[in-house]
C-alpha cells in the first residue's frame, strides 16, 4: 500500500481523504467541524483521528496535498473597462482560479468605489482594461485610484500591455505589491485568462496562505495548496476530458449548493446546437465556473425565495405559504438548523430545487429569436448546455439525500418550456459525489490524473436520469 492524503480546509469543516496509489482506490474520508476561532491544525488532527479510527489505524502517508477555502476563501476584486468585455474577462479569470469575487468594477473607479474596496480588503485586486494597444487611459486612471487606497493588498495587472508599466510604477510607488501578466483580452473578444490564473495561484501560495494562518499547516504538506473551487474545477475538467489512457465522461455540468453560495461548473465549449445561430458576447471557456452569492440553503435562503417566489416554494413543498415564511425565518436565524422534521425536509427539498434551477438558469446561455426581413434567425449569448447529458451533484447539503429526492432536485436543472430561451440540458444522468471527494480528486489530478479519474468514475454514484 502507498497511501496519500488530501486535505480540504473549509470554513466550517476540515475534510480528509486517503487514497492508496498502489491499488488506485479510495481508502476513506472523514471530516471535522472547525470554527474560525479554533486553530486550523486542531481541525486537521480531529479529522485525521476520525479517519484512522475508520481505517483501523494510522497510515504512513507518502504525500499530503491540500486545498483551502478557509477564512473566507480567496477574496478577489476584478476591474476592467467595458462591463461585458474586459471587466467580464477579469471576473471569469478570477472565478476560474477559484476565487470568491467580491465585486467587479467597470469604467473609471470613483472615490466611493475606492472606499468600498478599502472596506472589502481583497486578497488580490485584478486590474485590467483595454485590448493590447487599445484604451490606456482607463486602466492608468484606475491604477491611480487603487494606489491611493490605504489598505494592503497585492495588485495583479492583466490589461493593455501598452499601459502595464505605467500602472506598475504608479502602484509600486504607493507601496503596493504588483504582479504583471498577459492581458485577459489581448484582442477584441479574445479571452486569454490562463496566464492571469496561474499568477493568481502563485499569489495565493506565497501571500494568502500566510495571511490566513495556514502556513503552519503548509509545513506538514508536500504539495500545492490551491483554492478549493480551483480543485473542484480541475476535477471536473479531468472527469470530462479524461486522460490519454482513459476516456472521460464528456460534456457535463456540476452543481454545489452550499449554505451561503451556490457554485456551478460546466465542461463544454457550449457552441450552438442549432445551425445558423449567431454567437454574441465573449467566447466562453471550456471549463467554466460561476458562483451565485445570493443562492444558498441557509445564509442565502432568502435569496432563493426572492429568485423563485415563495409561491413556488410552497407548491413544491406542499406547505402553506405562511408556514414557509416561518420556516425561512427559522433557518436564516439559526443557520445550523438540520432538516430533522418532515416539514423541514420538504422545505429544504423545495429550496434546493429552486437553488439548482436558479443557479443553472444563470449559468446557462440564452438564445433569442430575431425576426429579420428574411425570416427567423437565432442569436445565442453564453453557453449552450442543451446537449450536456450529465449532472454532477456535490456539496454537503445535497449528497446525503435519498436518491429519489436528489434526482427530483436535479431535475430542476433541466430545460423547461416556460423558459424556452434558456439553454439548459434537456435530460441528464444524475451522478452524486456521495463520498464528497471532488476537491480531493482535483488535488490528486495534479499528480496522478489516471488514478483520480478512476476513483471518480467509481465513486460518483448514478441516481438515474432526471426528467
Amino acid at each position: 500500500m502507498k497511501p496519500i492524503l488530501m486535505i480540504d480546509f473549509g470554513s466550517t469543516n476540515t475534510k480528509v481523504t486517503a487514497v492508496d496509489l498502489e491499488e488506485g482506490k479510495l481508502l476513506g474520508t472523514a471530516a471535522s467541524y472547525t470554527t474560525i476561532q479554533t486553530d486550523i491544525n486542531d481541525g486537521l488532527e480531529n479529522a485525521l483521528k476520525k479517519l484512522h479510527e475508520k481505517l483501523g489505524g494510522e497510515l504512513d502517508y507518502a504525500a499530503k496535498y491540500a486545498c483551502s477555502s478557509a477564512a473566507g476563501g480567496l477574496r478577489m476584486i476584478a476591474s476592467g473597462l467595458v462591463p461585458e468585455l474586459t471587466a467580464e474577462a477579469a471576473r471569469q479569470a478570477a472565478l476560474g482560479a477559484g476565487a470568491k469575487v467580491m465585486k467587479t468594477y467597470s469604467y473609471e473607479l470613483t472615490d466611493d468605489d475606492a472606499e468600498e474596496i478599502a472596506a472589502i480588503k481583497p486578497d488580490i485586486f485584478l486590474l485590467t482594461g483595454g485590448t493590447d494597444g487599445g484604451n490606456k487611459d482607463n486602466i492608468i486612471q484606475n491604477a491611480q485610484v487603487v494606489a491611493g487606497i490605504d489598505a494592503d493588498f497585492p495588485v495583479l495587472i492583466a490589461g493593455n500591455r501598452a499601459a502595464v508599466r505605467t500602472c506598475q510604477k504608479i502602484l509600486e510607488e504607493s507601496g503596493k505589491q504588483v504582479m504583471i501578466t498577459e492581458n485577459v483580452m489581448p484582442r477584441f473578444n479574445e479571452l486569454n485568462i490562463e496566464p492571469a490564473q496561474s499568477k493568481i495561484r502563485e499569489l495565493f501560495l506565497d501571500r494568502i496562505i500566510k495571511a490566513k494562518g495556514l502556513s503552519q499547516a503548509s509545513q506538514l504538506i508536500s504539495g500545492i495548496m490551491m483554492p478549493t473551487p480551483a480543485a473542484v474545477l480541475a476535477a471536473m475538467e479531468l472527469l470530462s476530458k479524461g486522460t490519454e489512457e482513459q476516456k472521460g465522461l464528456g460534456e457535463l455540468v456540476a452543481v454545489d449548493v452550499g449554505g451561503a453560495t451556490t457554485d456551478l461548473y460546466s465542461m463544454t465549449d457550449g457552441a450552438p446546437d442549432r445551425a445558423g445561430t449567431v454567437l454574441k458576447g465573449l467566447p466562453e471557456p471550456f471549463a467554466k465556473r460561476t458562483v451565485e452569492g445570493d443562492i444558498g440553503m441557509r445564509y442565502s435562503a432568502a435569496g432563493i425565495v426572492e429568485a423563485a417566489g415563495m409561491k413556488r416554494i410552497s407548491l413544491l413543498s406542499g406547505l402553506d405559504e405562511d408556514r414557509c415564511w416561518e420556516l425561512l425565518d427559522l433557518i436564516t436565524e439559526d443557520t445550523s438548523t438540520m432538516p430533522d422534521t418532515d416539514e423541514l425536509k420538504a422545505f429544504d427539498k423545495a429550496l434546493a430545487s429552486m437553488a439548482v434551477k436558479t443557479g443553472l438558469t444563470r449559468h446557462a446561455g440564452t438564445v433569442e429569436k430575431v425576426y429579420t426581413p428574411m425570416g427567423e434567425a437565432w442569436v445565442q449569448s453564453g453557453k449552450d448546455l442543451s446537449r450536456v447529458d450529465k449532472i454532477i451533484i456535490t456539496g454537503g447539503s445535497l449528497i446525503h439525500g435519498e436518491p429519489e429526492d436528489v434526482r427530483d432536485i436535479a431535475s430542476h436543472a433541466l430545460y423547461n418550456l416556460a423558459e424556452a430561451a434558456s439553454l439548459k440540458p434537456r435530460n441528464a444522468d444524475v451522478l452524486v459525489d456521495k463520498e464528497y471527494i471532488l476537491s480531493a480528486m482535483g488535488l490528486l489530478s495534479q499528480y496522478e490524473p489516471d488514478i483520480a479519474l478512476k476513483i471518480m468514475k467509481k465513486e460518483l454514484i448514478s441516481y438515474g436520469t432526471a426528467q
Partner: protein, 137 residues
Amino acid sequence: MENKKKLVIGVIGADVHAVGIQILDHAFTDAGFEVTNLGVMVSQEEFIAAATETAADAIMVSSLYGHGELDCRGLRDKCNEAGLKDILLYVGGNIVVGKQPFDEVEVRFKKMGYDRVFGPGTAPEETIACLKEDFNL
C-alpha cells in the same frame, strides 16, 4: 506597429450580408489599418463597446438590407455618451430602401452625425483614400 490607426467595422442591425464586410476587412488591413471586424448583426452597443476597449479611431458601419436608416440613427449620440467624443463615423453599403438620389441620402446620414457616407458599389480604395485624408496620413 503600435501607431496603426484602429478601425472597428461591422454590419449593423439584423443584417446578415456577410461578404462585403469580409472584403473591407482585408482591404483595410492591407492598407495598414488595425481592423476589429465584428461581423454581421452588430448592435450599436457592440460597436461602442469594441471601440472603447480598442481605443478605435473610427467606426465603419455597413448596412445592406435596406434598414440602415433606422439602424444607424442615434449612434453618434451614444458615442458621445460613452466618451468616444471625436471618433470618426463612416457608413456605407445599400444604406436605404431602393434607389434614392444619393445626395439626399448623404445629407440625412450626415445630419445623424456620420462624417462620411458612401453609396452602393463604392470601391474600398475610395474609402481608404478618405481615411488617409481624415487621419492626415
